[in-house]
């Protein structure tokens, strides 16, 4: 009892002292709240992705919509359904709409298609976040993978794993998605730097698969027949790389030909590593990217004039391999 009385007296004294010192606790409001409420009131965010049927776009849509809606921001989705034309139509429609969104989140197809509408939307005052696939135009935020960095990282791994000094042939095959897409363009930049410095590594095939796993499969089958001593196949996106992995397995070379890829990091990433289809998987964790986007949006909404804002939020990479495998590295789509 005495201790309790002492304690209460102490805390009372403390609060008086603290109050006297001017640091408000119980009676002070959270000063961020009013301006936050003002910033998000009646605001709308538009999501314009390449399609709505892949693991990245599905998790992005899920998390972004869930979180933003909870914060009081309205969201709407425009499905380009694998057609850059359609995406341009959606963006152009926003340009002339009376109720255009305040922030747009755009995943581009390639560097040029949406560049013009994006530029004009920026000039008209719309704040924009480019997500994972940028156009040649800068926008307020870029949230996504650092493709040049991924290219460098993967190239270095390939050098290490395939070098003739380690008894390997030095031959690698690259399977791109859309050659003109930013992920291909920038990854190749990063890879080229490394390969130029390491002439012992020979890129025997560097074709585009148009994001199609069956095309990737055909390409890989051909390459494996042409180069039976191939060291590794790197697919620049896991969506089409699954075809290459199957081709390797079909040729009975699983484990002998290395299978590398990158992607969103959904459950199938961990599954494919554990089953041996993929040897090394660089995940940029699209679930985390979605949260980053929410942060970017919230930040932009609270910025009056964002015309000078140029922020890049590169996604940290997680290398998933048999050695490092941990179920927590992969997210599940519900």
């Amino acid at each position: 009892m005495k201790k309790l009385m002492c304690g209460m007296a102490l805390s009372l004294a403390a609060s008086i002292v603290l109050q006297a010192g001017g640091v408000a606790i119980a009676a002070q409001t959270d000063s961020y709240r009013p301006s936050f409420a003002e910033a998000v009131k009646g605001k709308k965010v538009g999501l314009v992705f390449t399609d709505m049927n892949t693991d990245l776009t599905l998790i992005w849509a899920d998390i972004i919509e869930r979180d933003l809606n909870q914060l009081g921001v309205e969201t709407e989705i425009r499905d380009a359904n694998w057609s850059p034309e359609t995406q341009v139509q959606a963006l152009e429609a926003y340009l002339s709409a009376s109720d255009k969104p305040d922030v747009l989140i755009i995943q581009n197809f390639n560097l040029t298609a949406a560049a013009s509408p994006i530029k004009r939307l920026a000039e008209s005052g719309t704040k924009m976040v480019q997500l994972n696939m940028r156009s040649r135009v800068d926008t307020n935020y870029y949230v996504g993978a650092d493709w040049v960095g991924i290219g460098e990282a993967v190239a270095n791994e390939l050098v290490a794993d395939c070098s003739p000094e380690n008894g390997k042939s030095g031959k690698v095959a690259l399977v791109q998605g859309d050659i003109t897409a930013p992920d291909s363009f920038f990854q190749m930049q990063g890879m080229q730097l490394v390969f130029d410095a390491h002439p012992e590594i020979q890129v025997v095939s560097n074709l585009g698969s148009e994001w199609d796993s069956s095309k990737a499969r055909d390409i890989t089958t051909t390459v494996l027949q042409q180069h039976p001593d191939l060291c590794a196949v790197y697919g620049l996106w896991d969506g089409h790389h699954v075809g290459s992995a199957e081709a390797i397995k079909e040729a009975g070379l699983q484990g002998k030909v290395l299978s590398y890829t990158n992607g969103a990091g959904s459950r199938k990433a961990c599954d494919s590593v554990s089953s041996g289809l993929v040897d090394k998987y660089w995940s940029y964790d699209s679930k985390r990217q979605a949260s980053d986007v929410v942060t970017a949006v919230v930040s932009l909404l609270q910025t009056e004039d964002a015309s000078d804002t140029r922020v890049a939020v590169y996604s940290p990479l997680t290398l998933i391999s048999k050695e490092t495998l941990d179920p927590a590295m992969c997210f599940d789509l519900d």
Binding site: R78, P84, S184, L207
Partner: protein, 713 residues
């Protein structure tokens, strides 16, 4: 005054409003009605769902985004109309897009040069298709399928080698950004170019010979070939044009989007084919128009764009496009199949006609009492003539008649056993008359008013009259010139039996009873054709009265004859000559004693009169039962009547047992004989008229006797 009397204004005002619908549906632009309605409905739906859809800003934006696709629609549409298909449009588009960007970005060719080179390349690619499909006559589907894959493969190869180089896009030069983002007269540049091409295409198809040839080749390549049209070269030309148009569209696309990607032009051929089919351009070829293609394109683009903007998932848009395509095809197939039936049933617009009481032919005391006076006719040209509708004799006594084969035959005097083809005007020669200079003037159904000189040379007098301004259907072409006569001053009065029906279905005019016939006048001095009378119920026989002051004109379905004054105090007025005949009269000609002969081709029946009283009955009949089973005016049994100047019947001649002349359409008196013709007969008849003047003949009656010929006879 019964309704059969000449009351043109009343007849016209009663019939024309109903006819408008049928005539509207028969117009070439009627085929566009359905696509037009669909377009309007589609735009209305999306305008209501999307705010600000119809604002200038939005419409301008839509036009900007779709003009390139619309140009490709024109390309595909033209190829489909010529009877082919071009599945490679998407690949040509992609290749041209790449080449244009490569020229401008990598090779730094000036914009103008790049455009020209790219379009030429497109034309060259189209020429490959054209050579294989047009000249070598290979199957377009499989050939363009293969070229599609080949061109697409070339694009992939080029992308592989040069794609990264072009990935960052082009520098903005003034001309380049003008093409992509400039505007002319408030419309985006690519839209202006599209409109220019669309109008040009329309003019090409509808007003030029080449366009008619394109449609002909598409409609029936074989028939076009036989008509002398170089089908292979025409088809080749269209494919080349298609390639060039796709390339042009691609250049505009490049200036707007500026990206090279494997997705460029993908599925463009399906999208464009859907638009073309929606617009009612038939896949067999030969049917369609630029306007309809554009409407189809509009519908497809509005729907796909609208669905994107409504936030609808891609899967739904695809399903909707597929469903719309299926409905469009279904409708097109059904429309083609039933169109003629529908048009026929709406074109005919029966009108009520109250006939005067039918004279009783069984009454022995009736002036029309049946006899058998034509039993003993002499037969001329048995089985050598097919349908001698009108007969006439020249000063030398040779017998002329027009037959079904489009010829005017001549039987030589005096025995009429020798037969020769005097002239071959074509069409269906009907009424005949000699003018002052002994030229044989004839009304040729299907062609107009023609003349034949004594040496057999054919010349055209007229085939057009002034278009009736209040008729929707263009009736300036004379489709059914029937009979004629010539006034002393040389003016030719001739009848246009009906303006709404032609040689193949003139008898349906009887069911309409709408007063579609006209009396026309051709003046050789001014070469002008004027309309003298309108609203006639099948204007048939024409005869100048003996005093030359009036024209008698027969109204077949009216069972009456009108007199129109051309001279004298009553000039310009019309009064009934014979108000009530027992049947449908055909030709009327002068007799030797100041009276007239009139041929009655068929008899009215009480059933017919009843049918005329009920237009509703006739409408239902036309719509519900096949044409073979309709009630038609009877033209199977008739007679010849002699009438005097007051219109009173003096004499009748029947072929009671239908041995030689059951149905008579004309008779001509010449030197004491009466020569008889029939529209469906296989002979000409000649009967002696004991009481007639044996020296009288038509030419003398009209133009005076000639001393020289008079002595020959």
């Amino acid at each position: 005054m019964s309704e059969t009397a000449y009351q043109p204004f009343k007849r016209i005002t009663r019939s024309v409003p109903k006819q408008v619908i049928g005539e509207a549906l028969n117009k070439p632009w009627a085929d566009s009605l359905i696509p037009f309605t669909v377009t309007v409905i589609t735009i209305a739906i999306f305008a209501s769902l999307l705010e600000g859809y119809l604002s200038t800003v939005n419409l301008g934006s839509l036009a900007h985004q779709f003009s390139e696709t619309a140009i490709v629609v024109l390309a595909m549409g033209l190829v489909v109309m010529v009877g082919g298909i071009d599945l490679s449009v998407g690949s040509i588009f992609a290749l041209a897009n790449f080449v244009a960007l490569y020229l401008i970005i990598a090779l730094e060719v000036p914009v103008g040069g790049a455009v020209v080179l790219t379009v030429l390349m497109g034309a060259g690619l189209g020429a490959v298709n054209g050579l294989l499909c047009g000249i070598l006559r290979m199957r377009a589907f499989i050939v363009t399928l293969v070229t599609m894959i080949i061109f697409r493969g070339i694009v992939s190869l080029l992308l592989l080698k040069f794609g990264s180089e072009l990935a960052l896009g082009a520098e903005d030069t003034p001309l380049w950004s003008f093409l992509g983002y400039g505007s002319v007269l408030g419309l985006p540049t690519n839209t202006i170019i599209f409109l220019f091409l669309a109008v040009g295409g329309h003019v090409l198809l509808t007003r030029t010979r080449l366009g008619a040839h394109i449609i002909a080749v598409g409609g029936s390549r074989l028939a076009a070939r036989r008509a002398g049209i170089p089908a292979g070269r025409i088809a080749m030309g269209v494919y080349v044009l298609s390639g060039a148009l796709c390339a042009l569209a691609a250049v505009l696309y490049a200036s707007r989007i500026g990206s090279v990607s494997y997705t460029t032009g993908k599925h463009l051929e399906i999208l464009v084919l859907t638009a073309v089919i929606l617009g009612g351009v038939s896949l067999g070829g030969g049917r369609g128009s630029i306007a309809r293609m554009v409407m189809g394109a509009l519908v497809v683009m509005v729907i796909t764009n609208g669905m994107v903007r409504l936030g609808i998932r891609g899967g739904v848009t695809e399903m909707a496009t597929g469903a719309i395509l299926l409905f469009a095809i279904l409708f097109d197939v059904k429309w083609l199949k039933h169109k003629d039936k529908l048009l026929n049933s709406t074109f005919v617009c029966p009108v009520k006609l109250t006939m005067p009481p039918l004279p009783d032919l069984t009454d022995k005391n009736s002036p029309y009492a049946v006899n058998d006076r034509l039993r003993d006719v002499e037969v001329i040209g048995l089985d050598q003539v097919d349908g001698p509708e009108d007969v006439i004799l020249d000063r030398a006594g040779n017998l002329y008649t027009g037959v079904r084969q489009g010829e005017i035959l001549r039987f030589l005097a005096p025995d009429y056993t020798r037969r020769e083809v005097f002239a071959r005007p074509g069409g269906r020669p009907l009424g005949l008359a000699f003018d002052r200079d002994d030229n044989l003037i004839t009304c040729v159904a299907g062609m107009g008013l023609y003349g034949v000189r004594p040496d057999g040379e054919i010349f055209k007098l007229t085939d057009q009259s002034r278009r009736t301004w209040w008729r929707l259907r263009d009736d300036s072409r004379i489709l059914m010139a029937d009979d004629l006569d010539i006034a002393p001053d040389g003016r030719i009065f001739f009848s246009e039996a009906t303006v709404r029906y032609a040689l193949s279905d003139w008898i349906v005019d009887g069911l309409e009873a709408a007063g579609n016939g006209k009396l026309l006048c051709y003046d050789p001095a001014t070469q002008k054709t004027t309309t003298v009378l309108q609203g006639l119920l099948f204007a048939n026989g024409v005869c100048l009265s003996h005093d030359g002051h009036s024209i008698l004109v027969v109204e077949s379905w009216g069972s009456c004859v009108q007199r129109h004054w051309i001279n004298g105090p009553k000039k310009g007025t019309t009064e009934p000559f014979i108000a009530n005949l027992p049947g449908f009269a055909d030709n009327i000609n002068r007799a030797s004693d100041g009276t007239y002969w009139i041929a009655i081709a068929g008899i009215r029946s009480p059933l017919w009169d009843l049918t005329m009283k009920s237009p509703g009955f006739r409408t239902r009949m036309i719509k519900r039962i096949p044409r073979d089973e309709w009630i038609f005016p009877n033209l199977n049994a008739g007679f010849i009547a002699k009438v005097d100047e007051t219109g009173q019947i003096l004499d009748v001649l029947w072929d009671r047992f239908a041995t030689h002349h059951p149905s008579v359409t004309s008779m001509r008196e010449h030197r004491g004989y009466l020569y008889i013709g029939g529209l469906a007969n296989n002979r000409i008849g000649r009967i002696k008229l004991p009481a007639a003047d044996p020296t009288w003949m038509g030419q003398d009656s009209y133009w005076g006797t000639r001393p020289a010929e008079a002595s020959e006879a």
